[in-house]
């Protein structure tokens, strides 16, 4: 049945991710100048790939919704935007952790690549806010229109590395300039994280459909985020001058997985709530 298939896929994803992470942390050769901290790339780049892919799916689903008005497409658009924001957050958090070591600063305010990625994140957060605050039937149409606008900015973000002066390393995969083993492991990780995102999207999509069925439009936001935001500034101010390079690597991995696991836990609690609500209404 569907559930069996889901759990089989989940198990596959776990194994694949474990393999990818092992490859990235242990097998991959150490980079010459950046040392072990470079291994953050094996979570940073796949997260970016996944985020861009999901935003693209969101764009396609939105167009399809405007064309056919199918509730499935709307659920898919809502799902991909939310999961995309999660992956984009991982990009935006692991990036500065690496940059603090490699560049010596958390954020370079005049770097177009960084700004445009942040802008993309803001865009899709505003998309989610929009979905939450619009009324009744107009939500899906307005959100689809907004999604199309948001996606128009994506090519700008993608090309920012090439058009503007930036410190951000350009995409190097499949170029002869890197060790083929690194490229190989990067591809494994990209695939693993893509599978992982499909898994989360699947989970989230089923929930969105349930939510549509019981017409529970108002979904609660994660309250834990507020506590996290209050703790975050403390970390930035408390950074001592000399930190062992390896701790940046651990911080990057911890942050990335903290976000993924946190999001999964959030989804679980939401699912429990939805199930309860569905049982009360008698739909499902």
């Amino acid at each position: 049945m569907k559930t069996k298939l889901f759990f089989a896929f989940a198990a596959f994803c776990c194994l694949f991710l474990a393999y990818g992470t092992y490859q990235g942390l242990v097998v991959a050769p150490t980079e010459e100048t950046m040392g072990d901290v470079q291994r953050i790339f094996y979570v940073h780049v796949p997260a970016a790939t996944v985020a861009f892919t999901l935003f693209f799916v969101n764009f396609l689903a939105s167009i399809y919704y405007l064309w056919k008005r199918s509730p499935q497409a709307d659920a898919l658009a809502a799902t991909t935007a939310e999961v995309g924001v999660v992956f984009c957050s991982v990009v935006l958090i692991t990036g500065p952790i690496w940059a603090r070591y490699a560049w010596g600063v958390w954020w370079s305010p005049w770097d177009m690549r960084l700004n445009t990625t942040l802008m993309l994140w803001l865009l899709y957060v505003s998309y989610l806010v929009m979905r939450r605050s619009s009324t009744g039937g107009s939500t899906s149409v307005l959100a689809s229109a907004l999604a199309i606008f948001a996606f128009l900015d994506v090519p700008i973000v993608y090309m920012a590395n090439r058009w503007f002066r930036t410190h951000h390393p350009p995409p190097m995969l499949f170029t002869p300039r890197i060790d083929p083993r690194m490229g190989h492991i990067m591809s494994i990780n990209m695939l693993a994280f893509l599978c992982f995102s499909v898994l989360i999207c699947w989970f989230r999509y089923e929930m969105e459909r349930t939510a549509q069925k019981i017409n529970a439009g108002h979904i609660q936001r994660a309250a834990g985020g507020a506590v996290g935001m209050m703790l975050l500034p403390a970390v930035f101010f408390a950074t001592p001058g000399h930190v062992a390079p390896i701790s940046y690597l651990w911080a990057g991995y911890l942050a990335a997985w903290g976000i993924y696991v946190g999001y999964l836990l959030f989804l679980m609690s939401k699912l429990a709530k939805l199930k309860k609500e569905a049982a009360e209404v008698g739909a499902g």
Binding site: M119, L123, M130, G137, V141, L146
Partner: protein, 232 residues
């Protein structure tokens, strides 16, 4: 679709758009409530920032400062331009009217554009007075940057104001939607303005980028406006 003949409904697309422009401007001329509050807000921003910055070192931040003043007063004007149509169900009347929705949109955009451009013309002398400002680069470039930047803000802003008016927390939604979408445009407006004012570097790249941005987003607005207006 067949356009029904009747008073106020005859005529081409351009004529319909013009009717909207002249109606908006006439309303604004008689009440002047949007313009006055916009003007006052921009004035406050200029004065407050003039306390915060020394005259000598203000030139590198002038681009940002000018656009902060314009951006926020634009947001004020845009919210009002659609909120006005909600009274007496005017917006619903537009939706059942056989006139093309794009004509209404174009009329609104042009009306807002004229309003904001007027504001900018009136604010320019104030910037000169408070910050002892003069342009090192050629002035026509400054004019082109300002016109393109204003168009980019107004066209997106009018669209997103129409969208946010449909949500529960109306006026609050507009900045949330408009600002992230226009970040690329704002970045190049600010950089371009600073480049002309301080004379280091040519703003040609920024001009091209802004022009491209205007073309792409104007097209998208026109294609999607009817959908947004009729969303239910």
């Amino acid at each position: 679709m067949k356009v029904h003949e009747g008073p106020g409904m005859t005529g081409s697309f351009a004529k319909l758009a013009w009717i909207n422009v002249s109606k908006d401007l006439r309303l604004e001329w008689r009440s002047r409530d949007v313009f006055n509050s916009m003007m006052f807000f921009a004035l406050i921003v200029v004065v407050v920032f003039s306390f915060a910055f020394e005259r000598e070192d203000s030139r590198p931040v002038m681009g940002g400062l000018i656009w902060i003043a314009f951006l926020f007063s634009t947001t004020m004007a845009l919210n009002q331009s659609w909120a006005r149509e909600l009274r007496n169900g005017v917006l619903d009347a537009y939706r059942v009217s056989p006139a093309p929705a794009e004509a209404l949109f174009l009329g609104k955009v042009i009306g807002n554009f004229i309003l904001i451009t007027l504001l900018e013309c009136l604010m320019a002398p104030l910037f000169v007075v408070f910050y002892n400002l003069s342009s090192v680069g050629p002035l026509w470039q400054l004019v082109v940057v300002t016109l393109l930047g204003t168009w980019a803000l107004v066209v997106n802003g009018t669209f997103f104001a129409a969208m946010s008016i449909r949500t529960r927390n109306r006026e609050l939604m507009l900045p949330l939607l408009l600002l992230p979408i226009s970040i690329p445009a704002v970045l190049s407006m600010v950089t371009g303005t600073t480049q002309v004012l301080s004379g280091d570097g040519s703003p040609n790249v920024q001009l091209k980028f802004l022009a491209g941005f205007c073309v792409i987003f104007t097209t998208a607005c026109f294609l999607l406006f009817e959908t947004v207006l009729n969303a239910e």
